[in-house]
């Protein structure tokens, strides 16, 4: 009975949010929103520079597409902020099913780009489901764990959560998209972390994961079982010189590009690594290296500071959240974002393994920018609802 009363109170709160959009809007985290908008604007400017010579005769080819995607993303942000989050909490099974469905659809419909099935062709745009799947994945796993909030430290619960997480991770890994599989794993770990799993358990998990990675890179191949494709293994070992066949050509060119940028950058015209295509995939995976070459330490730092701002405000949202689900979702999303930024930026400078994950808000790709704005929208919703709940008090 009491539970019912609580639930109706939550409903009322959600209803208030809908009836008082202005009050709801006023409780957005404006710093976070400004940081996101800053990233979009800065990202478009960066893309304009790094893709200027990619399509002969059409300098704005990618910028225009990117801007259209950003427009779609703003709509996604608003939707994500206003849809009550407890809807996702109650319907986490549906979201989980949708995540798996997206991954399966990739196999059915995707065309193979450079030996990897990641994209689905939807008319004029290409849709990369694993980017959107990242957000749904966090919402679903968090839903499961919060439903069992009282039993979260039991190994049984943790085991089930790991099992639930493993299925989409495995599907992404088999696409093969090692980078995104790592991002999903990081998100899974963060959700467990914020849901209240004990330290000992976390340490055990990290050790097991570490062993699994070691096994796939060294031990199993030594025993004759190849888990990773040769190029993936070579990239994970982070050795630019152990490379007779030119696998780390990309990494060497990337480091050269970053380094040559200097303090203030070489400019769009002079940046030969980007312009002469020494740097492969400079519009997507190696976008940061291209930015660093063209705009130098100053330009790169602006981007990193904007990311740091998003992470800081995101962590603040975790503390402001009005319920455990909001806190866990916010934590999982923020950590996934941080992980993605670190791995992508680190990869271009040789401090993280070379994997193909997009740089948030900058790398060319419509789904990526829409998903990241969707992510910001969810954080805004959690923030606003948390403040509204705080005003009315328990």
């Amino acid at each position: 009975m009491i539970e019912a009363a609580e639930r109706s109170r939550v409903r009322a709160r959600a209803g208030r949010a809908a009836s008082e959009p202005v009050a709801f809007l006023r409780r957005f985290d404006w710093v976070l929103l400004a940081a996101a908008f800053g990233l979009i604007g800065y990202g478009l400017w960066v893309v304009a520079g790094i893709t200027r010579f990619d399509v002969p005769g059409d300098e704005g080819y990618y910028v225009v597409r990117q801007a259209i995607a950003a427009g779609l993303g703003l709509a996604a942000l608003v939707v994500a902020a206003f849809v009550p989050l407890d809807l996702a909490q109650r319907r986490w099974r549906l979201l989980y099913g949708a995540t798996l469905g997206l991954m399966v659809v990739v196999y059915a419909a995707a065309e193979t780009v450079r030996g990897s099935k990641r994209w689905i062709d939807v008319g004029v745009i290409q849709f990369q489901p694993s980017e959107l799947g990242k957000v749904l994945f966090v919402l679903a796993i968090a839903g499961f764990l919060v439903e069992r909030a009282g039993r979260v430290t039991r190994w049984r619960t943790i085991g089930t959560a790991l099992g639930l997480g493993a299925a989409p991770i495995l599907l992404v890994f088999l696409q093969p998209d090692l980078g995104t599989a790592l991002v999903y794993s990081a998100a899974l770990l963060a959700v467990l972390f914020f849901a209240g799993v004990r330290w000992r358990q976390l340490v055990a998990l990290v050790l097991v994961t570490g062993f699994a990675i070691l096994a796939s890179v060294w031990i199993l191949p030594a025993a004759g079982v190849q888990v990773l494709k040769p190029y993936q293994a070579a990239r994970l070992t982070l050795d630019p010189n152990a490379d007779p066949s030119g696998l780390t050509y990309n990494l060497n060119q990337s480091i050269t590009a970053v380094g040559s940028g200097g303090l203030s950058g070489r400019g769009v015209i002079e940046a030969s690594q980007t312009r002469l295509d020494y740097l492969p995939e400079h519009a997507t995976d190696f976008a940061f290296a291209s930015l660093a070459e063209q705009r130098g330490f100053v330009g790169s730092s602006i981007l990193l500071l904007l990311y740091l701002l998003v992470v800081w405000r995101g962590l603040r949202v975790v503390t402001v959240a009005g319920d455990l689900y909001g806190a866990v979702v916010a934590g999982g999303l923020v950590f996934a974002f941080l992980f993605q930024v670190f791995v992508n930026v680190g990869m271009t400078m040789g401090v993280a393994p070379v994997t193909g994950i997009p740089l948030p808000f900058v790398a060319v790709g419509g789904t990526s920018i829409v998903s990241n704005l969707f992510l910001i929208g969810i954080l805004q919703g959690i923030h606003a609802r948390g403040l509204l709940a705080g005003r009315s008090g328990p």
């Binding site: 059409d58 040559s260 303090l263 070459e293 730092s301």
Partner: protein, 671 residues
């Protein structure tokens, strides 16, 4: 461990002393545990960003100069390795188009001297070494500066001496690269040129369209004909190689393959090279005959030969033509002009036009079988009922006068006789009956013609076909302005019945229609490529990768009695003494059936009025008459009568196909 966990979990997370009531859900609060974890994650985030910032600082600010040097003379260059394009073979596996390796000199504009004066001096020296026009090269270099990713091809097929000179003086020519490339080699020169098409560098529009399919700037691809339609099979897949060069672009390491190139697949055509050559010679022979006959304006034409059983194209000739080799390597603009410049093309009588598939002509009397079949199917007339073949006939309210081509005939004829002697007034009468049978009746013949494949493309696999024009009352209404022109008059139906006035067909459409007559009433879809194969190297057998099955023939729905009457008429036409082409085929050992045509077309010729009419010479037919293995249509533009130019040309194709020479004959000018 699990029991301990179970115990502790019952404690309230907020640390209050009372045991929690299991029925009460605690209102959510930020627990100290969660706050601590947020703090820890914040610390991790700071650490992560600190790592990134320090690394960035060390790379860019501390050792930036060193990397800038490395970037400015980047020593690793990725080179696209071109895949050899697949060969094109004839139906017996004889090579029509192959590749030869050639040496080309390329110029990377980005590596040339930055100083304008030094650059110009180098361009002049290079031009004189390679004997290319220096001004044109300088212009290309200027344009190339905006696109440093694509090297300029200065010259292909470079001789040994200039290559050695360039190697010895490499330091004086920064940016010059000597590469091995594959060139399209046309052993038979102009043979089958309009079918084969040509290969050229990808244009910006094509690049935008095909980028997603893996095409890149500087790629070469098929532009027309088979080269274009089957490009995905012919082109293969390019490879990537890596080479270490110094700041002057001199190679410092051997080429290191990073991705092997895969050669293109071979295409096997339905064309027989020997028959193709015979058809092209026959076309020239027909044009010569027309000239001897006083038709000096005859300067083009087409011959198509099909297998009437499945539509395989055995030969397809078009004249005038061009040598596809003018597109190979460094293009000479002068030689290319007739193919791309409108005015130059007109002067050379459009050598780039494949007249067999896209030349449009009125068919004249070769159309009469269409009229006959449609008339019999619609019960407009009966084949054995006699109609008068008079020298002139008058139709319509204004008693318009229509003449027979032979003013000395005036007797009644059956369909067989009328076809054999190609009586115009006989078919005028049928045309008029179509007109008289009312509004619906006036489109019946066109409906049958459309069913026979006229007014639409035949579906040839290389595309590029013209549709032609089937005039209907509705078409007149849509097309013209004045009431006079918009009306469909008796003359329209009558002229259509003898293949004149607005009607336009392609030689290929005509051949496909005669294939239907030849094989007993089945429509075929012409095709040129029979399969894709992995070319068998030395000793290894060829492997067929994909077979293009011909579209199965479908019935045209023609009554067998009607068809038999038409076939009889076309046999008598080549064998009876009064038949229109019996002078050409009557004494030939293999029985041939066929029909002549002499169609009037408005041809603007210098010194003549603008509505000057010239005769288009046609002949279509097949052999052997009762068991057809080949159907041939020949057309000589402005060639006069069908029997004097087109029919003897077609005979040459039969001679080659059957391997039987014809006895010499005397040519008589008949329709």
């Amino acid at each position: 461990m699990s029991s301990g966990g179970a115990y502790r979990e019952r404690r309230s997370p907020s640390g209050r002393f009372l045991p929690p009531d299991p029925r009460v859900r605690e209102p959510y609060r930020l627990t100290p545990q969660l706050a601590l974890r947020v703090g820890i994650l914040g610390a991790i985030a700071l650490l992560a960003f600190a790592i990134l910032f320090f690394r960035l600082w060390s790379l860019q600010v501390l050792s930036g100069e060193q990397y800038l040097d490395a970037a400015q003379n980047n020593q690793l260059r990725l080179i696209r390795v071109e895949a050899p394009r697949g060969p094109i073979l004839d139906r017996r596996g004889r090579v029509i188009v192959a590749n030869v390796a050639g040496t080309a000199v390329q110029l990377w504009v980005g590596d040339m001297p930055k100083n304008r004066k030094a650059r110009d001096a180098m361009v002049r020296r290079l031009a004189s070494v390679l004997r290319v026009p220096p001004l044109a090269l300088a212009q290309e270099v200027d344009q190339g500066r905006s696109d440093p990713l694509t090297p300029i091809t200065v010259k292909t097929a470079v001789g040994e001496d200039p290559v050695n000179y360039l190697y010895e003086h490499q330091a004086e020519f920064p940016g010059v690269e000597i590469v091995q490339i594959y060139l399209r080699d046309y052993e038979h020169e102009a043979l089958a040129a309009p079918i084969l098409g040509y290969v050229g560098e990808i244009s910006p529009e094509e690049l935008r369209r095909l980028r997603r399919e893996g095409y890149r700037a500087g790629d070469r691809l098929g532009k027309t004909g088979i080269e274009a339609a089957y490009d995905s099979y012919l082109r293969g897949r390019g490879g990537l190689a890596q080479i270490r060069v110094d700041s002057l672009g001199r190679p410092q390491s051997p080429l290191l393959l990073r991705q092997e190139a895969r050669a293109g697949y071979a295409l096997r055509l339905t064309i027989d090279t020997k028959l193709q050559r015979a058809a092209e010679n026959a076309l020239r022979y027909g044009i010569d005959l027309a000239h001897q006959d006083g038709h000096w304006a005859a300067d083009g034409g087409a011959i198509v030969a099909l297998d009437p059983r499945d539509g395989a194209v055995l030969a397809m000739a078009s004249s005038p033509t061009y040598k596809p080799s003018v597109y190979v390597g460094k293009v000479d603009p002068k030689k290319l002009e007739p193919l791309i410049d409108e005015e130059a093309a007109r002067r050379a009588n459009y050598p780039g036009l494949n007249r067999a598939t896209s030349g449009l002509y009125p068919p004249g009397s070769t159309w009469k079988p269409v009229t006959a079949l449609a008339g019999m199917q619609e019960h407009i007339f009966s084949p054995y009922q006699s109609l008068q073949c008079s020298p002139v006939a008058y139709y319509g309210l204004d008693r318009q006068k229509f003449r027979n081509w032979n003013p000395y005939v005036n007797r009644s004829m059956t369909l067989v006789e009328a076809l054999a002697e190609s009586c115009d007034t006989y078919f005028d009468e049928i045309g008029n009956r179509f007109y008289e049978s009312g509004t619906e009746g006036r489109i019946l013949m066109q409906q049958w013609a459309r069913r026979f494949g006229f007014g639409t493309t035949t579906g040839l696999d290389i595309g590029g076909e013209a549709e032609g024009l089937l005039p209907t009352p509705d078409w007149r209404r849509r097309t013209f302005e004045s009431d006079w022109d918009r009306a469909w008059n008796p003359g329209d139906s009558i002229q259509l019945a003898i293949g004149q006035k607005d009607l336009l067909v392609t030689p290929l459409q005509m051949t496909a229609f005669y294939a239907m007559l030849a094989n007993g009433g089945n429509l075929v879809t012409p095709y040129l490529v029979s399969d894709v194969e992995q070319p068998g190297g030395k000793g290894s057998p060829r492997v067929v990768l994909r077979r293009f099955a011909p579209r199965p023939p479908r019935s045209a729905g023609v009554d067998s009695g009607a068809l038999a009457a038409v076939r009889d008429g076309l046999y008598v036409a080549t064998h009876s003494r009064s038949g229109t082409s019996s002078g050409v085929f009557g004494s030939y050992a293999v029985p041939i059936s066929g029909k002549t045509g002499t169609a009037e077309k408005v041809v603007p010729l210098p010194g003549y009025p603008s509505d000057h009419l010239e005769d288009q010479s046609w002949w279509c037919g097949w052999g052997p008459s009762s068991d057809a293995r080949i159907v041939v249509c020949a057309l000589i533009e402005n060639g006069g009568h069908g029997s004097t130019a087109a029919a003897p040309a077609a005979l040459r194709v039969f001679e080659r196909f059957f391997g039987v020479e014809a006895p010499p004959s005397i040519l008589v000018s008949v329709d």
